[in-house]
Symmetry: C2
């Protein structure tokens, strides 16, 4: 199946700077795809710390289990990623594969096995032969360089229609540090769920505990606020590596240290940028949908209401049809299970009040909203009328192409 | 949009017997549809008891609020249903409409307002003018008769592609009683959610408390186990009326009385029959999917796992594509949040083991399952491997027609 670039893709990609201590290379090993890079090696300088957020799935993949163990140590020297096979639901063979890859990398780089992080994306339930990856590693290690960000972002794609990258700078301890991130997610060629992989690298010097606290805080309002189809992958992985090349920050004791604010803010913005790139590349997406919830009982309640709207097939198909069907938004709020006062609900689409006080706004005319509905970016706001909880989530519309991609891949 | 009859429709409809004490009639009032019946009146004999199960939505419709009040009394003399307008999210005007209809019926039938039950299905957020319904009531009351079941089932349809009816008989207190039910659900013409309405009538003599206990028990494994798109209506309503014409059962104190078993069993089977008819008429449905879960931590956990599989767009599109993509079933089990042991999971499709012990079954060949995948009824079984909880749920596949129906209704 041919995949044209998503109509929602960014019009230009960032020029990715180097991160001192990080080297990248990619190879085409033919795991599933032909004539394209499908294995990424990133090597990191000694002393690199790491933090991560992994899928909450109860049937997570072998490399996710492996990363969970490695995160306990908090140190990293290498990242190996392959596309085309998720190494999920592959039993003991799957565990043997991650061990074989870790061993090969360890020998090459002279590091501990727990310092080799891994991720896999692609088909579920097919054994992943470690051979092609292991055989590619020596040449990958030799050719790794500081500038191959674009190739790295391409090597982790499955049926993404564009490579996802972002970069930000921030002040930390008097120095300017850089954070680079690459991501994949939301497209498919050969059939599986839209695994999201995100790898972020910085030259900041931060202990893994602080790094973890900052990452968790950034992941919640970004990656945890996007959805394409509500289906959680066995393999979702976000890893943040800090090489420390920019030099230590004195007496840094906790993530709450005020000196970390610019870094935290930069990390937030980078995570949100990558998350929105994933939503923009949602399967079959024609429109990006932003859903802002205010007035919920709590932020958690607001998030649940937002995600219920974002995952409603009726809301998503209506938007695909450029129909300002706010009744379906009312329905989704009602089914979320969170406290809502029907007669205080207020719903806006494209900034125009469509419903308030338990009924359609008397001043609302559908024609006023049509230009907004015909655009690429749809904005929905709902005030629930019960408290101060708020959240913002993003999704894409549900189109015929979603069904084509997921229902007829073998044709 | 033209709606052909669902390919999953029953090949023959039941011959509905009379229920002593119930009279039915329908009229075409043009609320939204032209040239078809859209208002149903059912009148019930004095002494009729009633039980009901209503939507859990937090933004429920005016008639649902009205029924909730009526159920507190447990007595019924009339049921008025309209199709084409849900009278949901209509503010004070919506409440005024149900009051006006109740008042008109009360005057005609000489009963209390709380004995007039109401339901509405159709567009959300548009005021429902009581005029056409109120004006139709006198003629409806005059023409009501014991045999108009087919017309009644037609009058409550929105874009259902077939009228849904079922009838069963059971012994109760030495007499043979009859239970008739009609339902609508899962189709759309003019845009809204697939409200499910179910009305069940029996000549059994049962106090409303016992009736309620029996109904609640029957609704859980039937209507609460079907899903088309996971979207909960503002208006879902199941009502069970018992006229008592078959004569009282002596000293009946609770729903646990052994003499009620045949009635309860008959009610169970009627509810399941109607529920499956709704699933078979799911929007765009080409295949009925049965999902049996065993070995979960509890029945509740099994239900949640089953519904997570049933609502997964990736599972539903795969089945639409006749693809035995069991990896997506693993994914859905993993995301349900319920306890599952990956290495003990066992998944069958069409009775054939596809995955066990944390990996693809070595003996499984995709070709063996293809004839099953090409059929109209798909059976999925998953043993979770952690306990004795079980559940069975039903859904339909996700096809292009679902998107056509819900995304382009105005075209």
């Amino acid at each position: 199946m041919a995949h044209e670039i998503s109509p929602l893709a960014p019009t230009q990609f960032p020029d990715m700077p180097e991160i001192v201590g990080v080297a990248l290379s990619a190879a085409a090993t033919g795991i599933r795809y032909k004539n394209r890079v499908d294995v990424l090696l990133a090597t990191m300088a000694k002393g690199t710390t790491v933090a991560g957020c992994l899928t909450n799935s109860k049937s997570r993949s072998a490399p996710v289990d492996w990363c969970a163990d490695g995160l306990k140590q908090g140190k990293a020297r290498a990242l190996v990623v392959n596309a085309g096979n998720a190494n999920a639901f592959t039993g003991k063979a799957g565990v043997a594969t991650v061990k074989a890859v870790a061993k090969a990398a360890t020998t090459l780089l002279g590091c501990a096995q727990a310092e080799v992080f891994q991720a896999s994306t692609g088909v579920i339930g097919e054994p992943l032969n470690p051979g092609p990856i292991v055989n590619a590693l020596p040449e990958l290690a030799k050719s790794a360089n500081a500038s191959s960000w674009n190739m790295a972002a391409n090597a982790i794609m499955t049926t993404d229609t564009f490579a996802k990258m972002a970069t930000v700078k921030a002040k930390l301890g008097g120095k300017t540090i850089t954070i680079n991130g690459i991501a994949k997610g939301s497209g498919m060629i050969a059939p599986d769920m839209a695994t999201m992989l995100v790898f972020i690298f910085t030259d900041a010097a931060l202990p893994s505990k602080i790094l973890q606290a900052l990452l968790t805080k950034s992941v919640n309002p970004s990656f945890n606020c996007i959805t394409v189809d509500g289906d959680t992958s066995t393999s979702d992985t976000v890893l943040l590596f800090a090489t420390g090349a920019a030099g230590a920050v004195k007496d840094l004791k906790s993530a709450a240290d005020a000196r970390l604010k610019p870094f935290a803010k930069a990390l937030d913005s980078l995570c949100l940028d990558l998350a929105l790139q994933v939503a923009r590349d949602g399967e079959g997406a024609e429109k990006l949908i932003e859903i802002k919830i205010t007035g919920a009982e709590s932020d958690k309640a607001a998030h649940k209401i937002g995600m219920t709207i974002a995952n409603s097939p009726l809301v998503k198909t209506a938007i695909a049809g450029e129909d300002a069907n706010w009744g379906r938004i009312v329905m989704a709020i009602g089914k979320s299970g969170e406290k809502a006062i029907r007669d205080k609900l207020k719903i806006k689409i494209g900034g125009i009040v469509v419903a308030a006080k338990g009924m359609k706004d008397p001043a609302y005319k559908e024609a006023d909203i049509m230009p907004h509905m015909k655009g690429r970016e749809i904005k929905i706001e709902a005030d629930i009328g019960v408290g101060k909880g708020k959240a913002c989530v993003w999704t894409c519309d549900l189109t015929h192409r979603y069904i084509d991609i997921n229902g007829s891949y073998r044709s």
